[in-house]
């Protein structure tokens, strides 16, 4: 799991007030902040690498705008309701609208958790998750990140990348980490992408983590561009026998979602 990158400072580390504010918001959305239900000014200043006084001023502006709120008891800052409401209005409404029932069906027929994700720089950002039974809540998956080069959804999102495009996207980035079967070089990654494309589905077998398998397929818009990926992941002992079946369901789900976005070809290909 890669930490969310804060917007970098320009001109040798001098970040603007806006960049500092955005970095604070991202920090308040981090696993650490969620786990402890908010962060104090001192800890936030540490995490964003800024003076406490600068952070205090930014937090005041953010709180006035309703983007953050302060717990009366703990004095810790959290992301506020106005940010929640704004977030619900972000992203591609058509995609999110269409994806919910498709993911529900996918989770029901595979019996495993289904995800919708997008490419964010060199990471995969989970937008929606559906668990097979309504008993378990999957909200904690939303907003999670995973590396794109060693996950099935990441590879599905890179289906259209040539080796040169992969080199541009991953230039200077570290490909270490991941599970035992992760690609170690961009050439290896590209070879796998080519193989995935031929099958129409990306399969990850312990590439992200020991004991984890996953299948993913890309979602395309009316212009044919890949805008998201649909995937199912599960412990290997449970899904490995049913992986091919799951793959077919994932491809069908991605095709039906693509069709709803106005894409024509995928559905025909899936029907062949």
């Amino acid at each position: 799991m890669v930490a969310p990158r804060a917007p970098g400072g320009k001109e040798g580390g001098r970040a603007s007030a806006l960049q500092r504010g955005l970095a604070i918001l991202l920090t308040l959305g981090s696993e650490e902040a969620l786990a402890s239900d908010g962060l104090g000014v001192v800890r936030i200043a540490e995490l964003v690498g800024r003076e406490k006084s600068q952070v205090s001023r930014a937090l005041q502006t953010l709180a006035e705008a309703g983007f953050t709120e302060r717990d009366a008891a703990t004095r810790c800052y959290r992301l506020g309701w106005r940010l929640f409401a704004l977030g619900a209005r972000a992203g591609d409404a058509l995609l999110l609208h269409a994806a919910e029932p498709v993911l529900e069906d996918l989770a029901a027929c595979t019996g495993e958790t289904a995800h919708l994700s997008v490419l964010d720089d060199i990471e995969v950002l989970t937008l929606l998750s559906e668990v097979p039974t309504a008993a378990v809540q999957a909200r904690e998956w939303r907003g999670r990140r995973a590396p794109a080069w060693c996950t099935s959804s990441g590879r599905a999102l890179l289906f259209d990348h040539s080796l040169e495009e992969l080199e541009r996207r991953f230039a200077g980035r570290d490909l270490s980490g991941g599970g035992p079967n992760a690609a170690r070089t961009l050439r290896q990654l590209h070879d796998r992408v080519v193989g995935d494309c031929a099958r129409g589905v990306a399969v990850s077998d312990e590439e992200f983590e020991v004991g984890l398998v996953a299948v993913a397929a890309p979602v395309r818009n009316a212009r044919g561009a890949i805008v998201a990926a649909v995937n199912v992941s599960a412990p290997k002992f449970r899904l490995s026998a049913g992986l091919e079946d799951a793959g077919r369901h994932v491809v069908a789900a991605a095709a039906s979602l693509s069709a709803e976005l106005g894409h024509r070809r995928t559905l025909e290909a899936a029907a062949r």
Copy 2:
């Protein structure tokens, strides 16, 4: 419907770079931006009342941080996926987690749309909506705002406000507008709140809009503080006969949600 207030400039209108950035984000979450699937720089500059060059710089910073994205075809800016992901991590996770099934049940047993909302200054901000059948999508309600003084959910959120507290909250604010039966003064509003409290449910009969009725009840946390409201609203011709029933369901839903947040008393009161 009141437009989302942009964070105000301080020191006689001089807004900081962070305030401008937040104002741009709120503008990109406005009804106008959603309806036209993004806004161009010129229109954003108009709406936030800033120079185009300032707005361009801020948009670049926001885009670099993934908070906004630019449509390749229309050149318009939209809220980005990173903001979507961040928004999903904002607010009270326990409340949202607990509210979804409660709202679903409420929508199913009343046959009308059920909402969860919080108080945001003098407005009611809708966090979640559930429609009675899965066929209709209610996403467009999320993030919507309505005045607190002439809606049932607004009054439920004001249950604990004394007349003095109402005066502090609404100081200098305009109470005109609303439906034919809206409260016109803070004393009227307070009288209604006192009556609502005695019944345990806030009823709005054409206070917000002609032809619209609604019932709401407050959700309390473990410390007894009102943190949200649950409500059901519908056209008068459809709900008016069943309003008392709907009120009982709303009170029960709010009580069960309060109980999940650790509140003890409401459930006992509802059982009486």
